[in-house]
Assembly symmetry: C2
Homo-oligomer: 747 residues x 2
């Protein structure tokens, strides 16, 4: 489900770099001997990886529609399970039963001032072999849209995010009782109809503007990789920032006989009808709008003057869905650990798709399979993991992370006890390494990235990424740790990280492949093999990256967490939030002065409709000291622990008993950052440092309770959340102090 738009591959490159010598240095959590043994295993691992498997498996997995409930989805699950068994894993298919609506009726019509009926269909083209498979395929729609048949004037709302409604307000335009049309981009899609409904809109049309996702980005398919005029982006609009997973079973697994909410009770079903359309279908609707010319930043790539409306364009939208429960098939393959079988390294990728899903999710799925195959081969050759490795192929990620979420909810207690890390992949493309996740794993990620070779340049993937950061962002020349991103939502790590606070990573390559096939029928093998990752070179790099991560986490003598990176990043987040409040305070003062002096009105064009901003409540100073103090304490403890561990592992190592004690603490360390009260109004989200934004969807908000309290001008809530975050960071500092004590005790 994760979308990375990027460049196009057409020709082979002339490479001129000397092969890099892979690091021989220490590995976090290993003694020198342990590191040497580990690297030997990794060399065996690398040698066994076979790009041809990736290609063959993708061809098979993406051969037919793979949505939830499709015949081919179940066949895939069973076939994947069978492969895992062949490779020596204990395999189960964990089945849940989730609400999954499919459309029975879809219509969008322009009724006035001219008439037009939207096509709502993607074409069959000879250059794309699976595009002709129409049977059993879901048409473009937004899952969990409401049923409805409404006719109203149209309003263009740009990306449909809260700032856009402020612009509308400045122009005196209300969407109350209107149908809005929003372009994809700037937020996760589900935010757009949610915000529209909050403002009183009666329906929402989503479309892919060629400015963001079409000819303005590059040549369109099949000439190039980009979205053609008739291409449509499907996708879920369930309210994932409230909770992901089955809308009817929050907090518990959607087993056959689980207690279920009535649909009317669910907090995550969309309240208004929503439908995605192509830019070919959108152009007549947008062209029929009158009213003010859209602000400069709102104008897309269609050859029209973008107007806001409302009207004269009058639109009818009619949608009906079959609201069935469907089975979802999670394939779970286990290889028991020999040293600490109750410490689990969980490694997952989803297998369901919106249609064929060659890139999303199969490009990641085949890399996970190849990793599992080689790990199985190593195991049969006598190597065994110290910790238990669990491979998961999730179903029903696309409609809202349902497969992984139900599994995590169902096995929450066991996972809370046993899972030491969750490693996620999804779509993968040619390009640069991309990692997001828990900052306790940042050093670990950097070490892995320094040991994997970039297939195009023959330097390490770390070195290539570092070069890009230097060129693009003036990153320091000195080789420090590259930062990993904080995670919001958008793929199957969500329940692990946000609900249980299990250290998680989301990894892929990208930035030089892909284009505009996302969630369309053209996310096909033919498209991927030309534009995604020709010759599956970055599929192999992903196998080598994730294989290292899995094997190192499974085998490290001491779990490879490093708290200094967390402390540094966290302190940066605290500074950001302080600055956010300061900036809002200054901005509020400035804006209130402009309101009072009438300057907004004087600066506006008197012949255009204009409503100046209102006076806003002054931003109070918020006590950040408890959080700042906690952050400082964590930094101090972290510096001590990281240095001690490094020194100890470089010399005589840690005794087995101390390692067990340490690992016992480290395995659950990230839980210190969990607050079981959850975030305000969305208790399912319990990580105090990372959450998807309530109004961004996928986009992360760090220190979310505090940050969103300030952004939403809920000062009391911000104070309360600051204290809860401070308490969490204090707990984390105490955990690190415990680790220090294990390493410094004198008995």
């Amino acid at each position: 489900m994760d979308q990375r738009l990027s460049g196009i591959v057409l020709a082979a490159a002339a490479l001129t770099f000397a092969p890099h010598s892979l690091s021989e240095g220490p590995l976090l959590g290993f003694t020198a001997d342990g590191a040497a043994r580990q690297r030997a295993v990794e060399a065996q691992f690398d040698a066994a990886v076979n790009a041809a498997n990736l290609e063959r498996w993708m061809r098979r997995l993406a051969a037919a529609p793979n949505h939830v409930g499709a015949t081919h989805t179940k066949e895939n699950a069973e076939w994947i399970a069978e492969q895992f068994r062949t490779w020596g894993y204990d395999v189960t298919i964990d089945t849940f039963h989730v609400l999954f609506p499919t459309p029975t009726e879809r219509a969008v019509e322009l009724l006035a001032p001219t008439q037009f009926r939207a096509v709502l269909r993607e074409p069959t083209i000879p250059e794309d072999r699976t595009s002709g498979i129409v049977e059993g395929r879901l048409p473009p729609y937004n899952a969990y849209s409401a049923d409805g048949d409404v006719t109203a004037e149209l309003v263009y709302v740009n990306y449909g995010i809260p700032e856009d409604y402020e612009e509308l307000e400045r122009r005196g335009v209300s969407v109350e009782g209107k149908i809005v049309i929003a372009r994809y981009g700037a937020s996760w899609r589900g935010i757009k109809p949610k915000v529209a409904a909050e403002h009183g809109a009666v329906a929402c049309i989503l479309y892919s503007d060629p400015f963001n996702d079409g000819y303005r980005q590059g040549d369109v398919y099949p000439g190039g990789a980009w979205r053609m005029a008739a291409g449509v982006q499907r996708g879920s609009v369930v309210d994932m920032p409230t909770y992901p997973g089955d809308p009817l079973t929050p907090f518990r697994g959607a087993t056959r006989d689980a207690d279920r909410l009535a649909r009317s009770e669910s907090a995550t079903l969309m309240k208004i009808p929503v439908l995605p359309i192509s830019y070919a279908d959108a152009q007549p609707l947008l062209d029929a709008l009158g009213g003010p010319v859209a602000p400069s930043g709102w104008r897309g790539g269609l050859p029209i003057t973008y107007h806001i409306g409302p009207g004269p364009a009058t639109v009818r939208i009619k949608l009906a869905f079959d609201w069935r429960l469907e089975p979802v098939y999670n394939v779970i393959a286990t290889l028991a650990g020999t040293v600490a079988p109750d410490q689990w390294v969980v490694r997952g990728n989803h297998h369901d798709a919106w249609v064929f899903g060659a890139a999303d999710p199969m490009s990641g799925m085949v890399a996970l399979m190849e990793e599992a195959r080689v790990v199985g081969e190593l195991a049969r050759a006598g190597w065994r993991p110290g910790r238990t490795v669990v491979y998961a192929a999730w179903d029903a990620e696309e409609p809202g992370l349902l497969g992984s979420t139900e599994w995590v909810e169902h096995y929450a207690q066991e996972l809370d006890e046993k899972a030491v890390a969750y490693l996620n992949t999804d779509s993968n493309f040619r390009g640069f390494l991309n990692v997001g996740g828990s900052h306790t794993l940042e050093r670990f990620v950097n070490q892995v990235a320094r040991d994997v070779t970039d297939p195009q340049t023959d330097v390490s993937v770390w070195q290539r990424l570092h070069a890009r950061e230097r060129v693009a962002h003036g990153e320091a020349d000195a080789p420090v740790d590259l930062r990993i991103d904080a995670l919001g939502s958008g793929s199957d790590y969500t329940a692990f990280l946000q609900h249980l606070a299990i250290p998680s990573l989301m990894v892929n390559f990208g930035g030089e492949g892909g284009g505009g096939s996302y969630h369309s029928i053209f996310d096909s093998f033919d498209h991927y093999a030309r534009f995604g990752d020709p010759r599956f070179a970055y599929g192999v790099a992903l196998v080598q990256t994730m294989g290292r991560m899995t094997l190192r986490l499974a085998n490290a003598e001491v779990l490879p967490l490093r708290f200094g990176n967390l402390a540094e990043t966290l302190s940066g987040y605290v500074d950001e939030v302080v600055k956010l409040a300061d900036d809002m305070r200054a901005q509020t003062e400035r804006s209130n002065a402009l309101v009072t002096d009438g300057a907004y009105r004087l600066a506006a064009d008197p012949v255009e409709p204009y409503v100046p901003p209102s006076l806003e409540e002054a931003v109070p100073y918020i006590n950040m000291a408890p959080l700042q103090n906690a952050s400082a304490r964590l930094a101090k403890a972290a510096a001590r622990y990281d240095a001690l561990l490094e020194q100890r592992m470089a010399t005589d190592g840690v005794s087995r008993a101390d390692a067990d004690r340490l690992n016992g603490i480290l395995a659950r360390a990230e839980r210190a950052l969990r607050d079981d009260a959850g975030l305000p109004r969305r208790p399912w989200f319990r990580h105090t440092v990372y959450a998807p934004g309530f109004y961004t969807g996928y986009g992360v908000k760090t220190l979310p309770g505090l940050r969103e309290g300030i952004e939403q001008r809920q000062w009391q809530e911000a104070e309360d959340q600051m204290l809860r975050a401070a308490a969490a960071v204090e707990r984390m500092a105490a955990v690190v102090v415990q680790c220090v004590e294990v390493l410094t005790k004198t008995d």
Copy 2:
């Protein structure tokens, strides 16, 4: 010729502001009594201004084609002269004879991979009454293009400015032997073919992209104000940054029997064929390009994927011109001063146009005429200016400021002695006050702007502009002087300011009217009356603004220069130039490190053509101390003089003898900033503080010798120019010290 694109007017505004009370405070250069008398005259002036004249005169002046040499241009000159005579002025028509090529052949054809012949013609539409006047009208072309008939592959070069060629170089694309196509914008048009020719291109096509000037900006004409698909921007491509005016007579007036260069000897004639086309004509050419996809910032608003080429698009361009000399008619109307007849206030606007020119230049021309009419009326009623007022209606501004430049060159010695200020106008639209010019006049401008009422909001035009600056740029709330812009080139102030260093101002209103009629046949009365300045309210505001300026300059007891504003601005320029060198130094170091480490190449997509930057010479530290010291000395003297003058005028004033002495110094003060050696490689430009950029055209470069020396990495030249600028500022400081001495002498 000055272009200001802006919003659209369709409806009347509901106004809610209380009328402002016009300032009663002191006036720079006047005693309290003098100020009261002056304000009384200004009240009489305001009362006599009649919007109906502006409308009637524009209708007449813009009724037929007004290019150089057209019948109607001469008729207009004679009619304007006649009006001035009627109003009591001494009038002459000063005639020069300049090179003015007009096209005899124009063709652009796409020969491969598909075929298309450009239309090169603007349509007649019923909504625009003059659009049907085809007889005697010049077709779209670029004046001073070379003749030629060339066929070559096409390359898209974005705006065609030097940075764009760096991007091309990164992609390994050369324009050597190619035809380039560049979109209008980001520089004066003449820069584009000049830079193309420097890079070896054999011809240049210019077009208006709808992203900048078409449907993406707003509804197109006649539905809205913006440029329609078939609209074309004409214009000159003579190398004005080298010298403006007649290409054959630099430094001297193009009188009938002047010494003339051969065309082959002229430094300002374009070396390759250039032609402007519409976006309707450009689309097939651009769509036929292959090669790399254009970088994101290069993509315009056409519904295509922008590629760079070269080819496969192959284009033929054929141009031939009739290289005639044409007479140009400058109308000069004089009202002799009673106190200091040898101190001239010159006030000008051009009367020639590319076609009908309702906005450009007639909107400014009719305001100048109405100002002159009312001044004439005041004179007949017994009021007489202290200094001589000279009204000028220039011909041949459009092809390259020819009328005003030849006049200034011809009368250079007399103007150098007598002209105390030059006040220029050109196109005028609904909106905000816009002033550029000599910073010695900045305080003066602020005082005028506080005394003119904005017709839409009833506050002063200063207050409305201040509100906009506060809203848009976070300008301070406190009412300090609003900054005026530095002037580059683009209208008739150029010869006065840049060649002779006569304090000059360029004034207009705009930002809420206009659209995309610039230099097309649709710059018509019908367009202007709907979208430019309905009811001519801002025409009246311009009359009131310029009338005040003329009258105050003519009547001030002491010439109203204030050196503190100059010193402050100049010190800002010095800081900018220091920062420019520092930034270039850091950027060069950083880039050289990236080159050396191979980071550029690692960060680039290996399957796309890519040529990393080369190592660059390190940026030396340049001694700025002489300039900084001079600037500090000027600031100190200025503070003393400004305070002394203010105090003296507020109390007993200045004796007639002292005023004469002071005025004698002040009248020529700005000449201190003139360096008769001129700028490197373009000696015609002699102001050391302001010049049009050699690679921006209209866009100003302040401290131009020094700044361009650094930008062009000519370190020795930068050092030399720093010294010349320092010497000029020292001269200016000495002038101010002289003024202080007049005010402090004890005899």
